[in-house]
C-alpha cells in the first residue's frame, strides 16, 4: 500500500491535534474542577454518633451476599485489631483510642469513598470502572482484564482482588449499593445504622448538614469535612470528633483529583507513540544527509587543496628557476664587469710605465 505525501501529512496533523486535545480533556480532569454529577448521592459518616456496633458490616454482608465471617458480627473483640477491606469485606469498622475525648474511643468506618473523579477509573484502560450519575463508582467485570492497576491507583486502598478465584477473579469493592439505589432502596449500611451515624442524601445536602452540625456544636467536631475536597472530593463524607489522622485517615492526599495528577503524563502517551518514530526517523535522515554532504565537501576540499598546492609549487618552481637564472646572469655580469675593471686598472698602470694601446 502506498501512502501519498498529502495523506501522510494529514495523519501527522491529526495525531498532533489528538495529542494536545488528549492532554486537556483527559477524563474528568479538565481545567474546571469537577464537583460531581448534579444531584448525585453520597453518605455522611459522623463518628461522634457511631457506637461501633458493626451493624453496618452485617448489613453489607447480607445485601451483597458475602460469605459469613468466622467470628459473628456481634463479637466486638475484632475491633481490637485494625482491619481493612478485602474481597469478602466491603466495609469494616475500626476502633481507635482517642485521647481527650469523652469515652476515650473513636470509630472509623472504611469503605469505598466513591471519589468524584476516581483514581481507579483513570487507571483502568478498559474502562471497567465508571462514576455513575447516582454517585456510585461501579465496576463492570465483563471487560476487566485483571491488571489490578486500580488497586495500585486507589489512594484509599479499597479495590480488592479475588485471589482465591483461579478462573474468573474479579475486583471487589463497595458499590454504594448501586443495585439497591436503582430500586429506590437505601444502602444496606445506612439503612441499618441505629444512630444515623450514616446519613444518606444528595452530596450537596450532606455538606449542608455537616456544616450545620459543626456550626451548632463546634466543640464536638474537628472543623473539617473529610471528603469535601480530598482527592478532588468524594461522595462519602466524614465528620469526626478527633483529628482525622488519629482514626487512621490520610491527611496528606491533597485536593487534586487523581486523574489530574496523571493526565499530564498519560496525555503525552499518544504523542510519544505517534510522533516520536517520525521525529527520530527525520533526525536520522537529517543526520545521514549531513554526513553525506560532509563527505562530499571533504572530498572537494581535498581536491581543491591538492590543486592549489600543485599550482603554488609550480609558481614557486618557476620563480626559483627564474631567480636561479637571474643569479647566474648577475654573477656573469658581475664577473665580466670585474674583469673589465681590472683590465682598465692594469692599463692605467701600464700607461704610466709604458703606454699600452688599447
Amino acid at each position: 500500500m502506498s501512502v501519498s505525501r498529502r495523506k501522510f501529512i494529514g495523519w501527522m496533523g491529526a495525531a498532533g491535534i489528538g495529542a494536545t486535545i488528549g492532554r486537556s480533556s483527559a477524563w474528568g480532569a479538565g481545567n474546571t474542577h469537577f464537583t460531581g454529577h448534579p444531584g448525585s448521592f453520597g453518605a455522611l459518616y459522623d463518628n461522634t454518633f457511631c457506637i461501633g456496633c458493626r451493624k453496618c458490616e452485617e448489613a453489607c454482608h447480607h445485601v451483597n451476599e458475602l460469605p459469613e465471617p468466622k467470628q459473628p458480627f456481634a463479637d466486638l473483640t475484632v475491633l481490637k485489631k485494625k482491619r481493612r477491606t478485602d474481597a469478602k469485606k466491603f466495609t469494616v469498622m475500626n476502633r481507635y483510642d482517642a485521647v481527650g475525648k469523652k469515652g476515650g474511643v473513636a470509630y472509623r468506618k472504611i469503605q469505598c469513598n466513591h471519589c468524584l473523579e476516581p483514581a481507579c477509573a483513570s487507571a483502568c484502560f478498559v474502562e471497567a470502572f465508571k462514576k455513575s450519575k447516582s454517585g456510585a463508582v461501579v465496576y463492570d467485570p465483563s471487560v476487566c482484564v485483571g491488571c489490578r492497576y486500580c488497586m495500585v491507583a486507589c489512594p484509599f486502598e479499597i479495590p480488592a482482588y479475588e485471589y482465591d478465584n483461579a478462573f474468573s477473579p474479579e475486583i471487589k469493592k463497595c458499590t454504594m449499593c448501586h443495585p439497591r439505589l436503582e430500586k429506590g432502596l437505601l444502602p444496606g449500611c445506612v439503612e441499618i445504622c441505629p444512630t444515623q451515624a450514616l446519613t444518606f442524601g444528595k452530596r450537596d445536602d450532606l455538606l449542608k448538614i455537616a456544616r450545620n452540625r459543626i456550626m451548632k456544636r463546634p466543640e464536638r467536631y474537628v472543623d473539617h469535612i473529610y471528603g469535601e475536597h480530598e482527592m478532588g472530593g468524594t461522595s462519602w463524607l466524614y465528620l469526626s470528633g478527633v483529628p482525622f489522622k488519629d482514626v487512621g485517615m490520610r491527611e496528606d492526599l491533597g485536593v487534586v483529583p487523581a486523574p489530574k495528577l496523571t493526565s499530564g503524563a498519560l496525555g503525552a502517551v499518544p504523542m510519544v507513540v505517534s510522533l516520536w518514530p517520525v521525529l527520530l526517523t527525520g533526525m536520522y535522515a537529517i543526520t545521514k544527509r549531513k554526513e553525506k554532504i560532509a563527505q562530499r565537501e571533504t572530498e572537494a576540499a581535498v581536491k581543491e587543496a591538492v590543486a592549489l598546492a600543485d599550482e603554488a609549487s609550480a609558481v614557486k618552481l618557476s620563480a626559483a628557476l627564474k631567480k636561479a637564472a637571474d643569479d647566474t646572469k648577475r654573477t656573469v655580469e658581475k664577473e665580466v664587469k670585474k674583469a673589465i675593471e681590472e683590465t682598465r686598472h692594469d692599463d692605467a698602470l701600464g700607461h704610466m710605465e709604458e703606454p699600452v694601446e688599447k
Binding site: F49, I51, G52, C53, L76, K102, G103, L186, C193, P194, T195, Q196, T199, F200, G201, K202, D205, K208, I209, N212, K216
Partner: protein, 580 residues
C-alpha cells in the same frame, strides 16, 4: 560538557546526603539514660539567657535547680553545726538586695563588685535585673563557665557530689526540662491560709506603686490580685508575674522557718509538680474574704447623678455576690482586670470608640468565662446537666422566659434606707424572694406544685410511669421505657443545684430535655409525632425515628456517664423475640 558518569556521581552524592539527613535525627536524644541527668524530674530550669545572642554553638544547659537548692540546704546545716560563717544560701547564685533575693539569676561571685562567695554585691540597692541582657556575650559565657566550674571544683575537693566540669557534662542535647509542669494557682483557700498565717497583715504581700516617688507602698482596702499589675511579660519596671511570684513567694518561704513558722515550699516541685499540688491542704468551706464587699448588688449601668432605676430599659439584675464568692476559686474569675464593678469599664452608654465591650455583651457573652452566661454554660457541661444540655442550645440562653430569671420585676416594697444603701438592701430582698420561690419549686417526689403563672401544675400522677416503645417490633419485643424514673432522676439533679432551680422555671422545663422543640405543655408530643422516615429531603436536619430514639438515649447516657446498658448491647434495652 559533563559526561554521563559525572551526572551519576552527583546523583550518588545527593542520594547519600539525603540518606545522611534522614538517618541522623538527634542521636543524642536519650536523656533518660544520660549519666549526668539520671532523672531530671521536677526542678530543672533551662538556661535561656543566651537566647538573645542567636544560634548557639552548643545545646542549652538544663540546670537542675532543686538539686542545687537541696545541696545548699545540706551545706548550710553542716555550716551551722560547724559554726562556719560561710553563707550557703540562695545568694550563692542569686543577687540579693539585703532583704530578699532577685528571682532572676545573677552571679555575685565574679561579676559584681564584691567577689567573696555569698557576699551581696550591691547591698541595699535594687538588683540589676537587666544585667544579663546588657552584658557582652563573651563575658556572660565566661561568667557561667568560671562560676559553675569553680563551684563544682570546690565541692569536688571537699569530696561532695561533684557537678560536671567538662563541656558535654552540662551542654546536653534534648534534656526534657520538666514533664507536666503545672502553672500554680493561688486560690482562695490558700489565700485564707496566708491571711491567717500573716495575722491579717495584708501589706506583707499587697502593694501599690507610686509613680512620682517611684516606690512601692501599701494602700489599705485597695488590695487586688497580683496579676492585675504583674502580667505574663515584664512591663516597664513592673516585673512579670513569674518573676514577682518567685521572688515574693520563695523569698518569704525561705525566711519563714527562721521565724518559727510553717513555711511554704521552696523547691520548684513544691508548687509545680501536680502530685505536690494535690497535697496542698484545702479548706472547705473557705471563710469569706474580708474586703467590705457587698452581699448583694444590682448589675446595672453606671449611674450619673441621681438617675433612678427606671432609666434602665431592662429590669436591673440583683446579683448574689456572697454566693458567687463561694462558687468560684478566686475573685479574678469575674473581676478579671481589677476589683471595680463591671460597669466601671463596661458601660451601657453609646460606645466611645466602638471597641469597648458593653455591659450587655459582658454579661451575656457565651464562651467568655467572665460573663454570666458563659460561666453558667460551662456549668451545664457537668455530668448532671449535660444529659439534656448537650443538645439544648446553650448560646441563646433558651427561651424568653429565662430572661426574667435574672431581670426580675422590681418589688414594690418600701423600707427605710439603711447602711449599705438602698440598692444593696433592695437587691437582697429580691434575691430572698427568688430563693423562696426556688425552694418552693423543689420537686417533692410526691406532689409537684409550681407557682409560675401561665404554666400548669404537674403532679406525679401526671407523669406516665412506663412507656412502651414498639417501633422495632418486627425483631424485638417492645422496649419498656421507665419514663417516670427518668423524670425523677432529672428532678433530683435540678434540686441539687441552685442554678438549675433558678432556671428550670416551670417543671415542664424538665420535660423539654427530651420533648424538645415544642412548647412546654402538660402532655408534650411523643417522639414519633415528629420523627418518622429518615433522610427526608424536605427536612434534612431532622433524624429519623430510629435514630431519634437511639441518639436521645445514648447521648444522654454518655453525657451523664451512665455506664449501663452499653450502647452496643441491643438486648440491654430491647428484649429479643423468642424464636428470632
Amino acid at each position: 560538557m559533563k559526561s554521563d558518569k559525572s551526572y551519576l556521581a552527583w546523583a550518588g552524592i545527593f542520594f547519600a546526603a539525603g540518606l545522611f539527613l534522614l538517618a541522623s535525627p538527634r542521636v543524642h536524644g536519650n536523656a533518660k539514660n544520660h549519666p549526668t541527668f539520671p532523672s531530671q524530674g521536677f526542678g530543672s530550669v533551662e538556661i535561656d539567657a543566651m537566647d538573645v545572642f542567636g544560634e548557639l554553638e552548643r545545646p542549652k544547659v538544663v540546670f537542675p535547680h532543686d538539686r542545687h537548692t537541696l545541696f545548699l540546704e545540706k551545706k548550710r546545716k553542716e555550716g551551722e553545726e560547724k559554726k562556719n560563717d560561710v553563707r550557703n544560701d540562695c545568694a550563692v547564685c542569686h543577687m540579693s538586695d539585703g532583704q530578699g533575693f532577685s528571682a532572676k539569676f545573677t552571679w555575685s561571685r565574679n561579676m559584681g563588685n564584691a567577689p567573696g562567695m555569698g557576699e551581696t554585691p550591691n547591698a541595699g540597692q535594687t538588683p540589676d535585673t537587666n544585667g544579663i541582657k546588657n552584658k557582652e556575650k563573651k563575658s556572660l559565657v565566661d561568667m557561667y563557665h568560671a562560676d559553675c566550674i569553680a563551684c563544682h571544683l570546690e565541692t569536688a575537693v571537699e569530696n561532695e557530689t561533684k557537678g560536671p566540669v567538662t563541656c558535654g557534662g552540662c551542654h546536653v542535647e534534648n534534656v526534657p526540662v520538666q514533664g507536666g509542669r503545672e502553672s500554680f494557682d493561688f486560690d482562695k483557700s490558700l489565700h485564707f491560709r496566708h491571711v491567717k498565717a500573716n495575722e491579717n497583715k495584708c501589706e506583707r504581700c499587697h502593694h501599690q506603686y507610686d509613680q512620682t516617688k517611684k516606690t512601692l507602698f501599701y494602700a489599705k482596702g485597695k488590695e487586688g490580685s497580683c496579676r492585675y499589675c504583674h502580667k505574663e511579660e515584664k512591663e516597664e519596671n513592673r516585673s512579670s508575674m513569674r518573676q514577682a511570684s518567685h521572688s515574693s513567694c520563695v523569698g518569704c518561704h525561705i525566711k519563714a522557718p527562721s521565724e518559727n513558722k510553717v513555711a511554704g515550699p521552696i523547691l520548684c516541685a513544691g508548687c509545680h509538680d501536680p502530685a505536690a499540688l494535690e497535697k496542698i491542704e484545702k479548706l472547705s468551706p473557705v471563710p469569706r474574704m474580708e474586703m467590705k464587699q457587698p452581699d448583694a448588688v444590682f448589675i446595672k449601668k453606671k449611674e450619673k447623678g441621681n438617675e433612678s432605676p427606671k432609666d434602665s430599659r431592662m429590669n436591673r439584675v440583683p446579683f448574689n455576690h456572697k454566693a458567687h464568692e463561694q462558687y468560684n476559686e478566686s475573685c479574678r474569675v469575674c473581676h478579671h482586670k481589677d476589683l471595680a464593678s463591671c460597669s466601671t469599664c463596661h458601660s451601657q452608654d453609646a460606645p466611645k470608640d466602638g471597641k469597648e465591650i458593653r455591659l450587655e455583651q459582658a454579661m451575656h457573652q457565651a464562651g467568655a468565662t467572665q460573663s454570666c452566661v458563659g460561666c453558667h454554660d460551662s456549668i451545664k457541661k457537668r455530668d448532671d446537666c449535660a444529659g439534656c444540655h448537650w443538645s439544648v442550645s446553650t448560646s441563646k440562653g433558651g427561651d424568653a422566659d429565662s430572661c426574667v430569671v435574672c431581670h426580675m420585676k422590681p418589688l414594690k416594697e418600701s423600707f427605710q434606707d439603711e447602711a449599705g444603701g438602698y440598692d444593696e438592701k433592695m437587691a437582697r430582698i429580691m434575691m430572698t424572694s427568688r430563693e423562696k420561690r426556688n425552694a418552693a419549686k423543689r420537686l417533692d417526689m410526691g406532689e409537684i406544685k409550681i407557682a409560675s403563672p401561665g404554666l400548669e401544675t404537674i403532679r406525679l400522677s401526671d407523669i406516665p410511669e412506663r412507656t412502651l416503645i414498639d417501633s422495632a417490633a418486627d425483631k424485638y419485643k417492645p422496649v419498656d421505657f421507665p419514663h417516670r424514673k427518668i423524670v425523677l432522676k432529672l428532678a433530683e439533679a435540678v434540686n441539687k443545684s441552685p442554678l438549675a432551680r433558678s432556671f428550670h422555671q416551670g417543671d415542664q422545663a424538665l420535660c423539654m430535655g427530651c420533648h424538645h422543640n415544642s412548647p412546654a405543655a402538660k402532655n408534650p408530643p411523643g417522639c414519633a409525632e415528629c420523627h418518622a422516615r429518615p433522610f427526608n429531603e424536605k427536612n434534612m436536619f431532622r433524624p429519623g425515628l430510629k435514630a431519634a430514639y437511639h441518639i436521645q438515649c445514648m447521648e444522654c447516657h454518655k453525657a451523664m456517664k451512665i455506664q449501663t446498658p452499653v450502647s452496643t448491647n441491643c438486648v440491654g434495652c430491647h428484649e429479643e423475640k423468642v424464636g428470632n
